[in-house]
Amino acid sequence: MNPALFIIFGTILFAALLGIFAGRRVPMNLENWTVGGRRFGVLLIWLLMAGEIYTTFTFLGASGWAYSKGAPAFYILIYGTLAYTLSFFILPALWRVGKKHSLHTQPDFFIQRYGSRALGVFVALVGVASIIPYLELQLSGLGYIVNIASRGAISAPLAILISFVLTCAFVLTSGIKGAAWVAVVKDIMMLLAVAVVGIGVPLIYFGGVGKMFRAISLKFPGHLVFPGAAPHMDVVWVMSTCLLTGLGFYMWPHMFGAAFSAKSAETIKRNAIIMPFYQIPTLLVFLVGFTALLVIPGLAKPDTSFMALADKTYPSWLVGFIGAAGAVTAMVPSAVLVLFAATLLAKNVYQTGFNPRASEDKVLRLSRITVVVIMFAALVLALYFPDELVNLLIFGYDGVSQFFPGVVLGLFWKRAHKLAVAVGLAAGVGTVVALIVTKNDPFFGLNAGFVGLAVNSLLVLILSWGRTELNHSKQ
């Protein structure tokens, strides 16, 4: 067995075992499964959220965009920072509602706040539809990484299959807590890997970051300012995309749910303050993409630039380490995504929609079965329909961002009404789908998801306001 294979398999097996043992003494019920008993302190929340945010997208998509598109990739540094700033205000309020009413999921919030089960089912379905491409992205990313890191010894489908089995194992035994513990291994390894490559390659090939950027500005003038090498991603697109994805960030069902697992509103607020520091590793990933543009130009798949350059530069065992980090980096978010998608289907589609009297045990049992089903669906998609990574993520964002008006107005504005929220949500999603299908994304330079969100927000505001005014004038 070559050292790279040993390191990759050793790591993912160790990580999975850690995840399995994390839940060994916890009696599994819905509360522990989804929100870890609402007991996570600042450190575990930090690890869980970093685990969810720093995904294979950080490795592959961000370097791929720096490589193929240039400056538009910088939106990735910006949107997270906007999201953490908003979360400082939104998540503590959300946590209090969650604690008070024992909420587990995002649709639970909609059902509680708006008193409508139908709206809950609708939100659950949009959530699941948005999660699946995100999950597929993790799995296909994992396939790429392990395939390159093992120098072709492990095929991408085999790598995806192995991680599928291990991830299901620790999700099924330990729920969200398993994911948080695997995130410990993942965060340490990923930070090391990104630091080694991100600091190393500009130094090795150019003698420093400044020299590397000067070489790019001479060879590819325009690459380092908007719109870079992507003419349809000019500054208006970047601005609208940052706003869309910044607002949408915590609207992902798994990010939303992670907020509930904190032990207090104070924990979640403090966490928001330190979150922007998470953005620094992304800079290092960009440096790899930019260096790759000069050193190995003309890659058919830009998303492979990080691994391809690492492979060209470093010895086999170190590439194996990077591959292992990449594999665990895919497994943590996969676990959380599949856990929440399954719980949405079991709790908020099956129980809420069809069988309100189903017992908690039955819902949990169904969630576990659904975990395997959804993972398998994503596995099939990853094997047969691989797409360019970031595009998939942006489609998912277009969907979940449409929850923003319902959540934020629901928390802070008494007048927000269920019909207005339902109409806004349907119109927002409809607008996005229509613009994308008719190839109008970007629409006058704006991100289509942003246009959908604007339509959605206006409808919720006008209809909620109009309804109460109408009621007042009747009295």
Binding site: I78, T81, L82, G210, V235, E266
Partner: protein, 73 residues
């Protein structure tokens, strides 16, 4: 709205102004600072300052908001 919340919201507007609305003004390569293109340097500065801004917002909320707001924490 409590005074602390109002001040915190005003501070929170800073990253939105600098990292979104100011982008058309800073979309330039030169001057390169610390070896970084000006656009990237600008973004990094404000990303790095955001935790400080949020910490200040946190202190102001603690200072000016009535403590019963904190009761549930």
């Amino acid at each position: 709205m409590h005074k602390g919340t109002r001040l915190a919201l005003m501070l929170a507007a800073v990253p939105f102004v600098t990292l979104v609305f100011a982008l058309p003004l800073v979309n330039r390569l030169k001057p390169m600072i610390l070896g970084l293109p000006f656009l990237l340097f600008w973004i990094l500065v404000w990303v790095a300052l955001t935790p400080l801004i949020l910490y200040l917002a946190y202190r102001l909320e603690k200072k000016y908001n009535p403590p019963d707001d904190e009761a549930e924490r």
